[in-house]
Symmetry: D2
Subunit: 137 residues, 4 copies
């Protein structure tokens, strides 16, 4: 943890009033936390636009009955084991599985790996959630 | 214009340092303006998630040589003339036109109109830019 | 699994050529799978725009040293236990944790729950990944 | 215009049924056009992720009463006149203006220009709509 600074932001009373309504509806208890969240989101987006070291969660949904699909997914993940931190496997129903895979690396490498996973035949839906290592923010 | 208020935001020195780097790269001259932009973006997003009165810009790219396409686009726009503020027509090349159409209304109605325009055969690409009336922000 | 149908799509040779290049770069082995992925993405987006029953993954990154944060996160998750399928906890470094929470429910309820989690003081970054139950797609 | 090809796509009857419902709701008159739109969207996204020559529309909303803002906006646009194709100016109300600026260039240059415009003090909201030149798609 680092020193806390008190930052002064000049803002019109109209804008502040509307912001207060929006963040109250979202369940924020104070403005500072809401503004820090906006700042951290903005930094995280920038990390992903550049090619910085970051953290992502790849979510895929697939039908585990499809022949050789489980093998292909396992092979591809093992080829990228240095990027993968861990994975959660959920049985959505008789046919469908969801996997949430936490990955770490340069944003370009994470994107490439996500593209490969999502492109495998039998993967119905895939998405890359662009989050952060939390370091220094 | 309304009264300017000085708002105090507590923030760690590490987070502030990273934020300063990001906004400097984007060309911001001061933090207050960058933070107000984040707040206004957040309010604008919320306007669009709810079904509030707002402003959008629909951009479409199409090949004007396609038979009856210009007529269909004109008809659909005239059916929605109360929503349309104005439009810009650009000749991209011998075949392709771009139209940027400024619309005003409830977000659900703007989305429906945009879907219709983009769905017309011959429209190659369409996108809805979700902006704001600027009122009170 | 249901019957496979052979669907005919008319497409210009130029467009097809560019599409082939794009999907080859993404690692797709055939066009049908790439087109089915585009279709399934589109359906999934529509599920989330409407208020249908669906599946999401909420990712949060937080500093577990912050007083009472772990308790607040646990309390909020227990209040929504009927929505939560399971969760993965990752230790990113000495301070930071990542949690990936798989939730099921109407899209509006998932969004509300995600907003609450992300709004808790101490949660540095949060994101909702909008996926699907995989049913019928 | 190039040759039309008939492309065969194998798809399950369940998936096709759901797709038909979605595209009917969006006003599409046939599946081929809906699938071509998905393909063209995908290609356009890829153009923007790479650093290809493309077309964008920058939308800004600002209060024209702010001192020197109009001059700053005009100066910045003139410095980028080779990128700018044309612009539409809309008077939203007594205070607020919207400008939709059609730009052409490499995606990285368009993004940089958009960041600069949006970062100017007095610009309330800005957005970059990522469209296409329409060439070969």
């Amino acid at each position: 943890m680092t020193d806390l600074i008190r930052l002064g932001v000049s803002i019109s009373s109209d804008l502040l009033e509307r912001f207060d309504k929006v963040i109250e509806a979202k369940g924020y208890v104070n403005r500072s936390e809401a503004i820090r969240d906006l700042i951290r989101n903005h930094i995280t987006q920038t990390e992903w636009e550049g090619d910085e070291e970051t953290v992502g969660v790849i979510t895929i949904v697939y039908n585990h009955h499809i022949r050789e699909l489980m093998d292909k997914l396992a092979d591809l993940q093992h080829d990228h084991n240095t990027m993968i931190n861990s994975a959660l496997h959920v049985h959505l129903d008789h046919d469908n599985c969801l996997e949430a895979i936490v990955v770490r690396g340069r944003s370009s490498e994470i994107k490439k790996f996500a593209d490969k996973l999502i492109g495998i035949k039998g993967v119905k839906h895939g998405q890359l959630s662009r989050t952060t290592s939390g370091k220094d923010i």
